[in-house]
């Protein structure tokens, strides 16, 4: 009902809002919608979702495809206007020519503004399997002649754009699985502490305080460093995910516990009990709605934290490793100031990290506001 009515109100934009009649979820949706940044965050997350699903189709090259003609190449900007100022409906990139530098004797490429490589959409390229099932070879964009490396290439000629798009999977995947694990841990441990109370509650609270009072990143680093080197990429992937979620559950556990303790003795719960509600109904209709929103908020906060931790770990070479690709793994190539100086575009995956974290923070903020719809 509430959902239907919510959308009804969406259409009747001019309708006067009646906070006195609205359901809690309605109020929360209104509040969330008011938070423009949160809506932007949702849109960005949607884009990331597309990248995760259709990485192969969006990227013009396979992540392992080396372009020997364009090694350590700088990003290629798409243009609509050529050097003479003429407008082209179809965007293009300027051609690159490989030359040997007469001083350093290294190959380097120069921009040739006289020649355009036109960008085409839905072109055929290297074959792949969509969702790992459907064989396809259509790519969102590409060029018929020459090549296109929007973000440039690394020291071995890999296309940074394709790799960054593919890296969405590992980066967001680790964060997602990590959040799910810490959510379960937090809900179970916090729930047990809040429900049973007493000694268990005391112990859990002390452990949480302890974990919070120690610097987690060095601990993560040390745990990750302790992983056996001979483990495969997948095993390391799983282990890193578990390590990250191991220390991220404390916030959630605390929220669950305190909300459980607080609401158990609330008048409205007592009133529900007195009017003959079953325990199940009390939990489902009264307790859960009163703190579910807080759980969602805490989860949205844990997400960027885990994402950032994974990126830092991988950047230092202690987290995920090739051939698994995450934004942190890609940034590993930009570890020294020397490589950054030579190829500053290697830092581009970092922008993706920032945007992803921003999007989650925006959504989290919107949720936090919405979770308390009666506040200002």
């Amino acid at each position: 009902m509430a959902v239907l009515d919510t959308f009804g109100l969406l259409k009747r934009k001019k309708a006067v809002r009646r906070p006195d009649l609205a359901t809690q979820w309605q109020l929360m949706w209104w509040k969330f919608k008011q938070h423009r940044l949160a809506m932007v965050g949702m849109a960005l997350l949607g884009l990331f979702g597309l990248c995760v699903l259709f990485a192969e189709a969006i990227s013009p090259y396979a992540p392992g495809e080396r372009d020997t003609k364009y090694v350590t190449g700088s990003p290629m900007m798409p243009h609509f206007f050529d050097a003479e100022g003429n407008f082209h409906l179809r965007p293009f990139v300027y051609a690159r020519k490989a030359e040997r530098d007469l001083v350093t004797l290294r190959m380097k490429s120069t921009v040739d503004t006289s020649q355009h490589w036109e960008i085409e959409f839905f072109v055929r390229g290297s074959p792949y399997k969509l969702f790992g099932l459907i064989p396809m070879d259509i790519h969102l964009f590409g060029t018929r002649e020459g090549f296109i490396h929007l973000f440039g290439t690394d020291f071995t000629g890999l296309d940074l754009f394709s790799r960054t798009i593919h890296a969405c999977r590992a980066s967001l995947g680790v964060a997602f699985v990590g959040v799910v694990i810490s959510f379960l841990l937090g809900a179970a441990i916090g729930g047990a502490a809040g429900y049973f109370g007493g000694t268990l509650d005391n112990i859990v609270m002390r452990v949480i305080e302890f974990i919070r009072s120690i610097p987690t990143l060095p601990l993560w680093l040390a745990l990750a460093a302790a992983l056996p080197r001979e483990w495969g990429a997948l095993a390391t992937y799983l282990a890193v995910t578990i390590i990250l979620s191991l220390l991220g559950w404390t916030w959630l556990a605390r929220t669950v516990r305190s909300k459980l303790l607080a609401t158990r003795h609330e008048d409205f719960v007592l009133a529900a009990r007195l009017s003959g509600c079953s325990d199940y109904r009390i939990i489902r209709r009264h307790l859960l709605p009163s703190f579910l929103s807080y759980l969602i908020v805490d989860t949205s906060i844990a997400f960027p934290e885990i994402l950032l931790a994974e990126t830092s770990l991988s950047f230092l070479g202690l987290g995920l490793r090739e051939p698994v690709e995450s934004w942190g793994v890609l940034l590993f190539a930009a570890q020294s100031i020397r490589s950054v100086d030579q190829a500053p575009w290697l830092m581009i995956p970092g922008i993706f990290v920032i945007v992803a974290v921003l999007a989650f923070n925006f959504v989290g903020d919107g949720l936090r506001d919405a979770a308390d719809p009666y506040s200002r």
């Binding site: 060095p218 460093a225 930009a334 100031i337 950054v340 990290v353």
Partner: protein, 328 residues
């Protein structure tokens, strides 16, 4: 009050104990023990070491004992003899290696803390009072970015930019020309310039967080009944703001000092590593990568101990600020 302090102190001792166990377990968790790694290193260097020699080494180091006896030996040596073991990467006592670099780590950590609070308190108040103004929006945009940017990336970008546009080396603590100079005013300025980047990098996310916390705390207090009743007594807006909401909002901010220190200590190794500072950061990461576990364990222990002491200090600060706790 005294009971509270006593409780805090006892709690701190127990936490330190727990931390030392965790640090030791991490030392232990590395694959292979010291004797094996030692043998492998020797073998790599061309020397041949027999299984019997490894066993001998193991017995002489007590590595054949169960972990709790080893732990006891490790912690009692630290506490009683200030003996942290030997780093075989550096071939020197761990304590010596650490203490030569610790002052810089501490210096950066405390400068960062100071920087964070000095910036965030006034900016947070401004943002709360001028809510939804252009300034408030600007602050929150910068704040969002600060929270979202990983430390190391910010360090890389700042280093890249300063190198590119100012032609200044940012790694390390001194410009090359001051490296071996005696102390002078110019050298001090040079040091501060070099310290600024790591302090900003380390303090960025913490500052952003504190600004938001301060803003929220002030906004929270602004709606309180006592603010209205003080206003009804004729206080001017400025006096009202400083005397009541701001003063109240400082309590939760001060109480997070311990956590902020935890964050700073947490981020310091990576920033130190990326910026090649001669502090404990690179030391820590190299010890992890090379599995120099005695050194790594000692550093984890010290990092944790620092934050635990920081938490105690912030608790004491809160007691000083808030009579409600004092009276309990």
């Amino acid at each position: 009050m005294i009971a509270y302090l006593a409780r805090r102190l006892v709690y701190m001792v127990f936490t330190l104990l727990a931390v030392s166990v965790v640090s030791f377990l991490i030392v232990q968790s590395a694959p292979g023990d010291f004797a094996e790694i030692y043998a492998a290193r020797k073998a790599a260097a061309g020397a041949i070491i027999s299984q019997a020699e490894i066993e001998n080494l193991r017995v002489s180091l007590g590595l054949d004992q169960p972990w709790h006896i080893q732990y006891w030996r490790w912690i009692s040596n630290i506490v009683l003899h200030n003996d942290w073991g030997t780093s075989w990467e550096w071939k020197r006592p761990v304590g010596e290696v650490i203490w030569e670099r610790m002052p810089l780590t501490l210096g950066i950590a405390f400068s960062t803390l100071f920087f964070m609070y000095a910036i965030s308190i006034p900016v947070g108040i401004y943002s709360a009072v001028r809510r939804y103004s252009i300034g408030d929006h600007a602050v929150s945009i910068v704040g969002y970015l600060g929270l979202a940017t990983p430390n190391f990336l910010l360090a890389l970008v700042l280093m890249y930019l300063t190198q590119k546009y100012f032609g200044q080396s940012v790694g390390g603590l001194f410009s090359p020309k001051f490296q071996n100079e005696p102390w002078s005013w110019a050298k001090l300025v040079d040091l501060l310039q070099h310290l600024a980047v790591p302090v900003i990098v380390l303090g960025m996310s913490g500052t952003a967080f504190l600004i938001r916390a301060m803003r929220a705390a002030v906004l929270d207090e602004l709606d309180k009944m006592y603010v209205l009743s003080a206003k009804a007594s004729g206080l001017s807006p400025m006096k009202l703001l400083v005397r009541y909401p701001v003063r109240m909002a400082l309590n939760p901010i001060a109480s997070t000092l311990g956590w902020r220190l935890t964050y700073v200590i947490s981020g310091a190794p990576i920033v130190g590593y990326v910026m090649a500072l001669p502090d404990t950061g690179p030391l820590f990461l190299h010890s992890l990568l090379d599995q120099d576990m005695l050194l790594a364990g000692a550093l984890i222990f010290i990092y944790c101990a620092l934050t635990i002491i920081g938490t105690l200090v912030s608790d004491l600060l809160l007691v000083a600020l808030d009579p409600r706790i004092r009276l309990e």
